[in-house]
Structures are given as C-alpha cells and as structure tokens.
Amino acid sequence: MTSSDSKNNINKNRQTTRWFSNITILRESQITKIHYITGVSALFVVAIHILMRLIMPFNMSLEFENVILNYKNIFYALLLESILVLIAIHGFNGLRVILLEIRQTLIWEKAVNILVIVAMIGIIAYGTRTIIIANGFSVG
C-alpha cells in the first residue's frame, strides 16, 4: 500500500460518506452493551435448555411427541423464544462487526446494517412461527 493509495481510499470514503451521515439509531457503545447483555443472558437460558434435556433419557427428549409437548408448555415456549431472540441479536451483531471490518465505505456499512437487521427479524419471525404452529395455532 503506498501513500497515494491511502489518500485515494480516504477521498473515496469521503465522497461516499456525505449522504447518510447524520442518522444514528443506536450509538456503538449502546450496541456493545446490548451485545454483552444478550451474550450473558443467552448463556443462562441455553444452560437451562440443555439441563431440561436431561430430565429424561436424551434420545427420548428428542422424540416428536416430547418436542411438541415441550412447545405446549408456555414457560418452555417462552424460554425457547427468548433463546431465539437473544442468540439472533447477539449472533447477527457479531456477524455485523466482522463484516464492517472487511470494508470501510458507508454504503457497505449501511448495506451490512440493513442486511443484518432483515436477516435477524426473518430468523426470529421464522422461529416464532414454528413455536406458534407447534402450539396448535395455524398460521396463514
């Protein structure tokens, strides 16, 4: 990398960063705080989830009827939903952080943010749909 290359990169970044410069929904420190909180919380709920597998023989716990029964227990369904939400937020933010380091233009940053939020909402919606269907409610 030469000095002229770096100057060109900086100029390109400046050109592409003029629009979409003042919109901030969450500051990075707030996102980091959410990332830490969801990470620690997910650790607890996943631990409970794994411990619940041990109340009966492991193979039995994964049988269809038992899984459906788990979904029909409202507390367990809420636990699964919280795992889904916490891990989706934590995981997709981690992915976002990795992707942001690959390129430094604001267009890339915006695209990554949108993609990650859409994917996160999509995964949460799909998982929630599964929990709802397993409870006997029909969707669509």
Partner: protein, 307 residues
C-alpha cells in the same frame, strides 16, 4: 555464615563475568544488516527487495547506529527517518526482526542474532525504504481532539487568564498516557488497524483517554462521541500488542479499556487503578505519612469526577 559465603562466591562470579564481558567489548564483531528497499513514490509498480550490509558492531551499537554506518560508508541512498537518538522523538520506528521497535532504543546485542532485518512499520503506507507515511496516523490523532478544552478558559483576554490547579492525584489519572511520543509502534502492531483503516488505533484512543481523564478538560461528552462510532473504540479486539511494543510504557490497551468502561458505564475500574496507584505510592511514604487518610482523597475525587 554459609549463606554469606555463598553470596560472596556469587559476587566473585559476577565480577568475573563482568570482567570477561569487558574484555570482549573491545573486540569488534560484525552483523549482517538486511534493509528493506522500496521507492514507492518514484517507482510505485516496482516491488521491494532487501539489501545486505556487513556492519562492525560493539556491545552498545544500536540498530540506528548500524543503519547510519551503512548509510555513511556503504550506500548513501538508504532512507531513514531519525532525530534525537534517545527514544524521545519517536522518529526511527521500524520493524526490527519482525517486531516494531525504535531503532535508536534497540541494541544489536540484545537481539542475540547475527542477522538484523529492518523493515518499514506495518500498517503505514510506504514512502521510501524505511520511511513511511504518518499522515493517516496523525489524522486519527487530531480527530480525537488531543488538547484541553475548557470553556472557562478565557485565553484571548490575557488579564483574565487564571491558573488551573491540578492535584497530584488528578495528574496520576492520565500521567502515564501523556508519555506518548507518537512513534506509531502501537499503531503498526494493532491487528484491527491492519484490517480497518477507519479505526483510530491505540495511540489516538489512549490520547482520547488522556484528555478525557484530565480534570482541566470540560468537553468530555464530545470527546466520547468522536470515538463512539461503528469504527471507533468498540472495534478494539484487545489483542494487547500495542502495549507490548510501546517503548515508553504508556500501555495504550489500558487506556482503551478504561475509556471503554466509561462508555459502558462501568467506571469502577478506574477507581481501582487509582486506589492501587495510591497504595503503591503511599507504601513508599509510609514513614512520613503513617498511612493517614490513605486512598480517601482519590475515592472522593473520583466520585465527584464521575458525577
């Protein structure tokens, strides 16, 4: 008595070893100096190569001395940036045998090898040979506003100038970070800077903390806003390489973590460090002060500071 004898024997052995090393001081040995050569401005398409020089060295010869020897007597076209030769100016930073160091502060004898490889600092654009472009580094440095901002200070009116007093305790909060000589070694060792050009780097972030922690500064919120971006302080992976290579013991990684703890709302770590510093300093003055009010001043001041 036996212990005394053992110690005496050890002293005699030490003296002997010093004498033998003194006799070897006068005998000149030589090392192979490999210097990275590139001319990125005139021939940007040409790749780099290494030139080798055989340099006579003594025990106290530094890498900078060796480079200047090669420049004086073998190849005057070698480009090096240097000034003070005493690790104060931070000009002669380069990668020596794979580690970013100051050439004037690195003795060849401590490298314990006969081949010394000098390369330009990583994460900096090349200009020529061992000289790199620091403009991006200084842009990041200036972006964190490395100066005291005090709204009460009335600088244009000389008659209104007042002295801003600072207690030694307040000074201790940032003194370590003010020893930075801007040599760029931490910046070159940072793995985040290697992938993210917008990341301010350890030097700028530790300086942000240095002014943030200064009791005379009143614009702390603005200072935090500058570094609290998507490519800001949160991108630090805490590899700790910056603190490993710092020649002045600034420990930029500590500054980054302290600043981050403030951003996340956990400022107790700073109080703990202040208490530890207080304890270590008070231990040396116990005879005079006899532990009177130990650490009290720090905690009270820190509480006020956090508010």
């Amino acid at each position: 008595m036996k212990i005394f004898k053992k110690e005496k024997r050890r002293d005699i052995k030490n003296n002997e070893s010093i004498e033998t090393s003194n006799t070897t001081d006068n005998t000149q040995s030589s090392v192979k100096l490999r210097v990275f050569r590139i001319n990125a401005i005139q021939d940007p398409k040409d790749g780099h190569h290494f030139d080798e020089f055989q340099i006579p060295v003594k025990r106290w010869t530094t890498v900078l001395d060796a480079l200047l020897d090669a420049k004086s007597y073998q190849d005057s076209s070698i480009a090096i940036r240097y000034s003070c030769r005493m690790a104060s100016c931070g000009s002669c930073g380069m990668k020596i045998n794979g580690i970013p160091r100051l050439a004037c502060y690195t003795k060849i004898s401590e490298l314990a090898t006969n081949t010394i490889t000098c390369e330009p600092l990583p994460n900096f654009p090349y200009i020529r040979d061992l000289v790199t472009d620091f403009s991006q580094f200084f842009n990041h440095h200036s972006s964190v506003m490395p100066y005291i901002q005090n709204k009460k200070a009335d600088i244009p009116d000389v008659n209104e100038l007042t002295e801003y007093e600072q207690t030694p305790e307040d000074l201790d909060k940032f003194l370590q970070f003010s020893y930075c000589i801007k040599c760029g070694l931490c910046y070159s060792a940072c793995p985040t800077v290697a992938t993210d050009l917008k990341f301010p780097g350890p030097q700028a972030l530790s300086q942000a903390y240095r002014y943030f922690a200064d009791s005379r500064d009143t614009d702390k919120s603005n200072r935090l806003k500058v570094i609290d971006t998507s490519h800001g302080i949160s991108r630090c992976h805490f590899a700790g390489s910056c603190s490993n290579v710092c020649p002045k013991g600034v420990d930029p990684a500590l500054g980054i973590q302290l600043l981050r703890s403030h951003l996340l709302g956990f400022s107790n770590s700073e109080k703990k460090i202040a208490k530890l510093q207080d304890r270590s300093s008070s231990n040396s003055y116990t005879a005079e002060e006899e532990g009177e009010g130990e650490g009290k001043g720090y905690t009270e001041k820190n509480e006020n500071y956090d508010k």
